[in-house]
Structure formats: structure tokens, C-alpha cells
């Protein structure tokens, strides 16, 4: 409910109360986080620490994928275990077009988004006929199908993947190879994605989706064509994740089927849940936490899974609200 809390605060309380109500540990952390993300390229450029900027570019991109997953999983209750497929489709659309000599972003990006959207439409139309565990397994299976198709694409590297020699080209003045520029582009698009999700879930459309999560039969009985609503939501999420795929391909200059192996979908799911499902900023926090943890653990042990694995189990068992939930708990406690 805290998503709506801010509105209520503005309406009913005095100025001073408004300020204290806004100064929750969660909001302070968010503000600090956003400031840090905004200033990171400045720090990197001054100190020459480009590794940090590259790491955070990756984090921002995967955070966007997690945000898109959260839209259907956290708000719509559709547990998609195949979201890495959209990363792959977005990435492969860029890679294949680049390989065929088409570098213009004005062609690459719409094609990539359209491809992700169409795939989401097809998969969604099938999956949404089922529910629960079927839904999980079917999204998983279709994502794995795309993975095998990519392996079969001999012309585009097959199993070994494909190097992208030239990043997407906009106008001459816009250069995606500029690291700081690319970082800010990813940051801006991530904020845009979060904003879009926030607007969506607070709209009438979002209410229908969330209503369907709570009780689909009742929503249908009121007269909403729930299937269509959910399908549209599924497609929006797929397109958003496809955008993350475009950025990821441009960031790594390389695509391979490993991009969409099913464990990658699992990672995205972990990011969304770890941060806090069903809150718009949760997946961003979750992605930062998960990827930094992974990176940090790899510094002193090569066996990260020994620690990460049981940690995930613990999150599943004891901390379903994720980090966001813990922060909310601080406020109450």
C-alpha cells in the first residue's frame, strides 16, 4: 500500500509532517542511491576507474530488465521464468542487423522492440491460458526454445556468439561508444522505465492488473476482459526487457546464446524479489545488491554459489518483502 502513501500524505498533513513523513530510511536511501548513480561517471572520469562505470552500466541495464519483470510478476502475479529471452531477442536483433551492415539505431531499435513485443505476444497468448506452475514452466520452456534457436544460427556465431563491431548509430553528434554518455543513456532509460511502471500500476489499467492478481474470477465477473489486460501487460514488459537487451548488446559489443540461458532468467527473478517485489524501485535496489554481491564475492572466493545459494533460500523463506520490505519494516519499528 505504501506506493500510494505519498499521495495521501500530501493531501492531508501539514508541511512539517510532510517532511518527516518523507524522511523514512527507505526514501533517504533511495535519494542517496540516485545521487550516487548520477555522480558515478564524474568520479570514474576523474579517477580513471572505468571498471566501476562499466560494472554499473551493466547493473543499470539488468535493473531495467528486473523492473520489466517486476511489472508482470510483482504487480500482475504472472511469474515469468523466461525473461532472459527478451534480453536475448533485443540483443540478437541489434547483433544480426549490425552483422548485415545495418547500423542505424533508427532501424535496429524499432526492429528489436518489435521482435520482443511479438514474441511476448505469442508466448503470452499461450501462457496466459494457464496458471500457476504451468505458467512458470511454459515461460521457461519457450525461453529455452529461443536459446536453442540462437545456438542453431550458424551464420550469427551459433554457440560461440557474435561480436558487434559497431554500436547502434544515431545522429553524428550522438556516440554510444562514449562511456559516460552511454552510462547516462542507460540511467535515463532506467528512470524512464521506472516512471512508466509507476504510472502504469497507478492507472486504471494497473488497478485491473493488480485486481486480477488478487482475484481473477472476481475481476472477470465485474466485466473486465482480464485476459486482454494481462496480455497487454505481458507485452509491455517484454518490450521493456527487449530495450534492456538492446542496451546490453551495445554495452558488451557481443551477444551469445548464454545471454538467455534459463539460469539468467533465474538471476533476473532473484533481482526482482531480492529488492522487493511489487514496489517500483525494489528491483533497482535488488539488482544493485545482487550484482554487487556477486562481484564482491568473486573478489575473495571463486565459489560464490556456496554463499549465494543458501542466501536465496533464506530470502525465499524468511524475507519475501526483500530489501525494500526490510526498509519499510525499519520505518514501522
Amino acid at each position: 500500500m505504501h506506493r500510494f502513501a505519498l499521495h495521501r500524505v500530501w493531501d492531508t498533513r501539514g508541511e512539517a509532517e510532510k517532511m518527516t513523513a518523507l524522511l523514512t530510511p527507505r526514501n533517504v536511501l533511495l535519494a542517496v542511491l540516485l545521487a550516487f548513480l548520477a555522480l558515478l561517471p564524474v568520479y570514474s572520469t576523474l579517477t580513471g576507474n572505468y571498471f566501476l562505470m562499466s560494472l554499473f552500466t551493466r547493473i543499470l541495464i539488468l535493473a531495467m530488465a528486473a523492473v520489466s519483470l517486476n511489472l508482470i510478476m510483482g504487480f500482475g502475479g504472472m511469474v515469468s521464468f523466461g525473461h532472459a529471452a527478451y534480453l536475448g531477442i533485443g540483443g540478437y536483433a541489434v547483433g544480426i542487423l549490425a552483422k548485415e551492415g545495418i547500423n542505424s539505431a533508427f532501424v535496429q531499435w524499432p526492429v528489436a522492440l518489435l521482435a520482443s513485443g511479438l514474441f511476448a505476444l505469442g508466448v503470452g497468448a499461450l501462457c496466459l491460458r494457464t496458471r500457476g506452475v504451468y505458467f512458470i514452466m511454459i515461460t521457461l520452456a519457450f525461453a529455452q526454445m529461443v536459446y536453442y534457436v540462437a545456438i542453431g544460427l550458424d551464420r550469427y556465431g551459433g554457440d560461440d556468439g557474435l561480436t558487434i563491431h559497431k554500436r547502434s548509430q544515431f545522429f553524428d553528434s550522438v556516440n554510444l561508444s562514449n562511456r559516460a554518455f552511454f552510462y547516462y543513456l542507460c540511467f535515463a532509460l532506467l528512470l524512464l522505465a521506472v516512471y512508466v511502471v509507476w504510472r502504469l500500476v497507478n492507472s486504471r489499467f494497473g488497478m485491473v492488473i493488480q485486481g486480477a492478481r488478487s482475484n481473477e474470477r472476481r475481476m472477470r465477473a465485474i466485466g473486465f476482459p482480464v485476459f486482454r489486460y494481462k496480455l497487454v501487460c505481458f507485452v509491455i514488459s517484454g518490450v521493456m526487457c527487449g530495450l534492456a537487451g538492446i542496451l546490453l548488446a551495445n554495452h558488451t559489443d557481443f551477444i551469445s546464446p548464454a545471454l538467455m540461458f534459463w539460469t539468467r532468467s533465474g538471476d533476473l527473478m532473484v533481482m526482482a524479489v531480492l529488492g522487493g517485489m511489487g514496489t517500483v524501485f525494489g528491483p533497482v535496489i535488488g539488482s544493485i545488491a545482487f550484482l554487487l554481491l556477486e562481484e564482491g564475492l568473486s573478489q575473495f572466493t571463486e565459489f560464490q554459489g556456496i554463499i549465494l545459494g543458501p542466501m536465496l533460500l533464506a530470502v525465499a523463506l524468511y524475507a519475501r518483502g526483500g530489501i525494500d520490505g526490510i526498509l519499510m519494516g525499519l520505518r514501522r519499528g
Partner: protein, 305 residues
């Protein structure tokens, strides 16, 4: 023609392997309502145990038996330590928790056995080819896999349909609370069922070990195929899993064997060699989609088993 028969047998063999995995998955899902992503890890562990024990004892059969027992024990221990806490929770919790277990097992295996894969050499008497039909030779070991799995499937059928434990398992699948209320130790029953599923997965792993390299992550690809099998067969139905496993095994193998050539008949050679493998890997998913459109509950819905 010879090639066709050989591919048929290969398909059945793949189907048998898938059945072993799918039976465990569907049993665990049907009775405990648990989605287990770590099932592939048990398959991997079975293969590692078999390779290790066979090397220690010097006997393939002895190694296989020890590995089977060891996987059963690992499975039951896993249930008691971790899986038990996931019952009755959201499917998303199952997915997250068992995904964590999968990461854990991958790293644990890397820690114990090292990053390099292992091989499990076959005893020499199984390396020969057997004449299955006049003029048709087939590797003896692959026949052993088919026969052994059929025996296991039969034993499973007898266990579930003809014994007291099987009766409790079936009762547990249809009404958990009632079985508990009648004084059955449901906790123990669940541990046994999970152990049984683990042993089936381990058996699949150890039978497959001599054909493939034993390596980390070997269970991850096959797990998804097992999912496809139980979706087609109907979740919770062992009979459905058996039929669907053979269908999927045959279609997948046939597709890979013949589709690339077939495609080349219609399009240019170079396009065909790129399109063929992609198409053949899609067939079983297309089949799954078709089943979902016409029978969303699978071919053998669990309610009518």
C-alpha cells in the same frame, strides 16, 4: 532404413532418460505441490557419485549401486534440511529457493570434484554392438539403458499402484490433510517421496554418465526438457510422463536426424544448414504449444489418473 531404426532406438533411449527425471519431478509436484529446480542437480550428483564410486571400487555395477544409494541419501537429507520448509508456500518461493539450491550444488560439486569434468569408462562387455534385427547393430550399453529404465518404470508402477506405501502416496496426492488426519506420518512420507524422486534422477544421471561427460551444469539443459515432458503429459501424472517422455524423445531425435536434410530439399543448401538445426530444436516446443492450445491440462490430466 537402418539409420531410421537406429534413430528410433536413440529416441526411445532419450525418452527413457527423460522419463526418469520427469517421473521424479511429477511425483514431487503431485504429492508435495513443490516445483523443484534442483532436480537437475540430483541428476548431476548421481553421475558424479557413479564416476567416483566406479573408480574407487573398480566395478561399474557396484559403483552404480553405491551412487544410487548415495543420491537417495542426499535427496532425503536435502528434504529434511531445506525442502521441507518450502511446502505449502507460494510457487515463486519454490522457484527462488530451489534455484538457490541449484547454485549451491553447482559450486559444491566444483569445490569437491574440481572444475574439470569426469568420465565413467564402461566395462568392456558393454562396449560391443548387439545385433537387434538382422543386419542392425546397436551399442549394447544403450540397450542396457532402455531395458534398465523399463524395469525401473515397471517397479515404480508396482510400487505406486500395488503396495501400501504407494497407496499412501496416491492418497497423499489427492488429499494431504486427510491422510495426515488418519494417522499417517506425512512428514516421513514426504521425505520418502522426495528421496525416491532424487534416486530416480540420480539413476538417470548415472546411466547417462558413460555416454556424456560428467560435468557441472549437466542437469540444467535436461531439466527443461523434463519440464516440457510433464507439461505435455499433464503435471502430476506418472503415466502421462511416460507417454510424453517417449513422444518427446522420439520427436526430438528424429527432428535432429532428419529435419536438416528435409529443409535442404526446399531451400538453398547454406540456408538449410542454418535453418535446419534451429527448426529441429524448436519442434518439441511447438508440440508443447499445440498440446497447450488443445489440452491445456496435458494429455493425461492428473485428476483422471
Amino acid at each position: 532404413m537402418l539409420y531410421l531404426i537406429e534413430q528410433c532406438l536413440n529416441g526411445i533411449q532419450l525418452g527413457m532418460l527423460l522419463f526418469l527425471l520427469a517421473a521424479g519431478l511429477t511425483l514431487i509436484f503431485g504429492i508435495m505441490d513443490l516445483v523443484n529446480l534442483a532436480h537437475g542437480s540430483l541428476y548431476m550428483i548421481g553421475a558424479y557419485f557413479a564416476a567416483t564410486f566406479a573408480a574407487v571400487t573398480g566395478s561399474f555395477v557396484l559403483g552404480a549401486i553405491l551412487a544410487l544409494v548415495a543420491t537417495l541419501v542426499v535427496g532425503m537429507a536435502l528434504e529434511v534440511i531445506a525442502i521441507r520448509r518450502l511446502y505449502g508456500r507460494d510457487h515463486l518461493d519454490h522457484v527462488l529457493g530451489t534455484f538457490g539450491l541449484l547454485l549451491f550444488f553447482n559450486e559444491l560439486v566444483r569445490l569437491i570434484w574440481g572444475p574439470a569434468g569426469m568420465t565413467l569408462p564402461l566395462p568392456s562387455e558393454m562396449l560391443t554392438a548387439v545385433q537387434v534385427l538382422p543386419g542392425v547393430y546397436y551399442p549394447a550399453y544403450r540397450l542396457v539403458i532402455i531395458v534398465a529404465t523399463l524395469v525401473v518404470a515397471l517397479l515404480l508402477y508396482v510400487l505406486v499402484m500395488r503396495t501400501r506405501v504407494g497407496m499412501l502416496i496416491r492418497a497423499g496426492a489427492s488429499n494431504r490433510e486427510m491422510v495426515g488426519a488418519l494417522g499417517v506420518n506425512v512428514k516421513l512420507l514426504y521425505t520418502l517421496v522426495f528421496g525416491l524422486g532424487a534416486a530416480l534422477a540420480g539413476f538417470a544421471g548415472l546411466m547417462q554418465a558413460p555416454i556424456l561427460t560428467v560435468q557441472i551444469g549437466m542437469g540444467e539443459n535436461i531439466l527443461i526438457l523434463a519440464f516440457v515432458v510433464i507439461i505435455i503429459g499433464g503435471i502430476g501424472s506418472i503415466r502421462g510422463a511416460f507417454v510424453a517422455a517417449i513422444i518427446v524423445g522420439l520427436i526430438d531425435t528424429m527432428g535432429r536426424a532428419f529435419l536438416p536434410d528435409l529443409v535442404r530439399q526446399f531451400v538453398s543448401y547454406s540456408a538449410g544448414s542454418s535453418l535446419g538445426p534451429s527448426l529441429s530444436s524448436m519442434i518439441i516446443y511447438m508440440l508443447m504449444a499445440a498440446v497447450l492450445v488443445f489440452r491445456p491440462e496435458g494429455l493425461f490430466p492428473a485428476s483422471s489418473k
